[in-house]
Subunit: 484 residues, 2 copies
């Protein structure tokens, strides 16, 4: 318990004159509240200096009428005329009195008090003090007094009076209701913080280390996105279905934004549903999120745009384009039930342990021939059937460009290990996955669209990853998309 | 069990000539596979017509070598030279044979088959058939045969042979692996669907009503957003904090986009955290979602822009503006743990039951005077303290405009009933909430920015809600924001 009474006025109080001569009746007040209204008795007698005149006048009237019960103030106020009340209220509102030195307060108490004063305790229907008394706690006439710099003991006493029914003249019984939402520790903290404030001063409370709450990650192990049959009707369903079409036939439905023959579903298997294949149900709730790649907080739209620019070697669909809204709608629907801002099991591609031997394109070539060429072709250029691309090209003008995530060997290895060969995910050894990733990434592909004119500079700026950035020739991008 | 053998060739088969004269060896084949390779024996003998030549040739070679075991085909293929194999493969790939009539299949079986063929069964590592055999199931030479229109019994037999190890010549053992992921019902459905397909025909399966899965809403009763102390460090945390600043001091931090003195937190209490006060943790996971208000699927950015245009009587922050990214980041963080695409308890403002008496502004005026004027002022223009708006103006040039949700009496009543007077939410009667909502909305406020020139037309187009749209004068919008 580090809170000490802060009511003892510094000795300089009397040296600072009030801005106007006190009215005669003030002599009585000064006995307890100090000559300039600085208060006294360690907070038994509140600070009046600087308080709102209308509030002071109302309180004196309430004391006089008995609406506000107080054994000392009632008889004193009873002897005051309306004019005297006005004069006293005016005087003290303009009076200047120094504030006592700040007392040492437990930083955790101060932080709790600041939180209650600035943020409230809404779980108990307690709005922030600052909501009504103003952001500077300077009050709002005539009902909401200035609180900043008031004595802690006085504030605590008044809040407790509101809590227990000893003070009832508050409009709408608002403070009585609010005060009942505070417990003893709250009252102590609020009072300490308000007393600690200095109008016009530096009111930054010391930083407190608060133990992080238990991580809120909700396990979504085995999460299954809703089945196709659960797509809703109406405009939402139409947009979701269109999003799925864009996702699986990107070159057709998002033609304006693609620069190669890849589909979103080439890297996000099972139409973005498969765990450990960067499923979209896991991606939706992760954004906005900071990405080092572009050194900013990315919205989901930013993230999707990145896919189009690098993986699709195309152009970013605007955030308000139908393609973008449709993709977001599809992801949103897939994510039904996934807790926001968590990384549920199955997110992204699982990292593959660092291999015993450095990834080697030559060894990877053998892996490719045995396990990959069946579908992607010996030349890695993929396959078409009835005019449609069935297996995607892995390098060359119709594949992802130098700026794509798949051009990072660790990313490619992770994708391959978990998912390739298609339907046989997990069957390659870690070393095979690394080697074949190196092999794939060791081929020419379209230039990084962020190319600054210098490979070295571009790599330095954007692609400091394990890979062959700039070590193999770039291929010209085919503007006309024709199946390979 | 509605699947019937579909192998009986229609009688017209022989009438359609193959596109080229059959090679001599074809006479042997024709005995079982039909003269034009249409197949026979109810699927005992597969259709060859139109199959990929390279696939046919490979199978004949595999029969010859024994790689593909078959009691009938092995001795026959053993007698064929390489040239004969090539000639037969070429001939049958070009041969034309009519397809048998489609057999009646249980629509649920067909739908299940379509789902497996088009979407796969990834939970058992089964990619979609269409992934390798092409979107038209027309095959991809030499390893992935054409499947469309093949006999169901033949397909089922082959899948089962892959499942049980009777057929092993598939590259990478891929089909053996895939087939083991299918159960009997899957095999039956896949076979039925593939047999049902007609190259170039209408392959739309009949619509099937599939029972909706149990609603995935995860109760978030009593959900509490994370405490301030849990805001992460780094750029994410900076953005979240800025978002909170924009939310609570909108006129300052989003000055360019506001046209009045309201803050987001005026309608979304406790900085967007309070249940039943349209909390942002409940809003985040709801979008994209269709809104009748603008007749489109709205992203979260669209929704926020609507607030700025109507409630803030300002301009929409662009989707990629810092203000927008910050607000989305703040909402995203608040929503940590809330299931996506659900309406957790506390979402929005709870509807207030229709009142016994029609909402009456005159009665509402009394409610206002007693319960609201304390904070919002007798003139409804709100209050300032130390230069900052503390209580928002409820009408007039500095308040929300005719297009805002709060200008709908039911919305205003819902907000008021649950949340007003501040700290005393739920204390007004339903009738009082409706009456005072009518009173508030019965005052002049800025014009709807969608104003077409005719109040009647604008109302008809955009605001067919319970309220006083166009029934009271509009106030000019103050372009200069000065506290009231």
């Amino acid at each position: 318990m580090l809170i000490a009474p802060v009511g003892i006025l510094a000795g300089v109080a009397a040296a600072i004159p009030a801005s106007a001569a006190p009215p005669p009746a003030a002599a009585t007040c000064a006995a307890c509240h100090g000559e300039n209204g600085g208060g006294g008795g360690g907070g038994t007698f509140p600070r009046l200096a600087g308080q709102l005149a209308a509030y002071l006048a109302r309180q004196l009237h309430d004391f006089k009428s008995g609406a506000r019960a107080n054994r000392i103030m009632q008889p004193l106020a009873a002897g005051l005329s309306d004019d005297q009340i006005t004069a006293l209220a005016q005087y003290y509102s303009r009076a200047q009195a120094p504030y006592p030195s700040r007392q040492k307060v437990n930083p955790a108490t101060l932080a709790h008090g600041e939180s209650l004063v600035r943020l409230g305790k809404w779980s108990a229907e307690v709005p922030a003090c600052a909501t009504c008394h103003g952001p500077k706690l300077a009050g709002l006439a005539p009902d909401f007094p200035m609180l900043a710099g008031q004595y802690a003991d006085y504030i605590a006493g008044q809040i407790n009076a509101f809590r227990r029914g000893g003070r009832r003249s508050d409009p709408l019984n608002l403070m009585q209701h609010v005060a009942r939402g505070l417990d003893d520790a709250d009252v102590k903290a609020v009072a300490a913080y308000l007393a600690w404030l200095r109008p016009g001063g530096d009111n930054q409370v010391p930083k407190v280390k608060v133990a992080s709450p238990a991580a809120r990650r909700v396990a979504a192990k085995g999460f299954q996105p809703p089945p196709e049959s659960a797509i809703p009707g109406g405009p939402d369903g139409e947009m979701i279905r269109f999003g799925e079409q864009v996702f699986t036939d990107t070159g057709h439905y998002a033609k304006a934004y693609t620069g190669n023959v890849l589909n979103c579903s080439n890297c996000h298997l099972d139409r973005g549903r498969l765990a450990n294949s960067a499923p979209m149900w896991a991606a939706f709730g992760r954004y906005p999120r900071y990405r080092k790649k572009n050194d900013k907080v990315n919205t989901l739209a930013d993230r999707i745009q990145g896919c189009f620019v690098f993986s699709m070697n195309g152009k970013p669909p605007p955030a308000d384009s139908k393609v973008m809204v449709a993709l977001e709608s599809y992801f949103h629907w897939l994510a039904t039930g996934v807790p926001v801002n968590t990384d549920p099991p199955g997110t992204g591609y699982p990292d593959v342990p660092k291999p015993a031997r450095a990834p080697d394109p030559a060894r990877g070539a053998q892996v490719f021939k045995t396990h990959c060429a069946l579908c992607h072709g010996a030349d890695g250029q993929g396959r078409t059937s009835a005019g449609a691309v069935v297996f995607p090209p892995l390098w060359g003008p119709q594949s992802f460009n130098w700026g794509a995530g798949m051009h990072r060997i660790p990313t490619a290895a992770a994708f391959i290990k978990a998912n390739m060969p298609l339907g046989l995910g997990g069957t390659l050894t870690d070393q095979q996955a690394w080697d074949v990733a190196a092999f794939v990434d060791h081929h020419p592909r379209p230039q990084d669209p962020r190319f600054t004119g210098s490979v070295k500079e571009t790599k330095q700026k954007y692609h400091q990853h394990m890979g062959y950035y700039g070590q193999v020739p770039s291929t010209p991008t085919k503007k006309e998309i024709t199946p390979p």
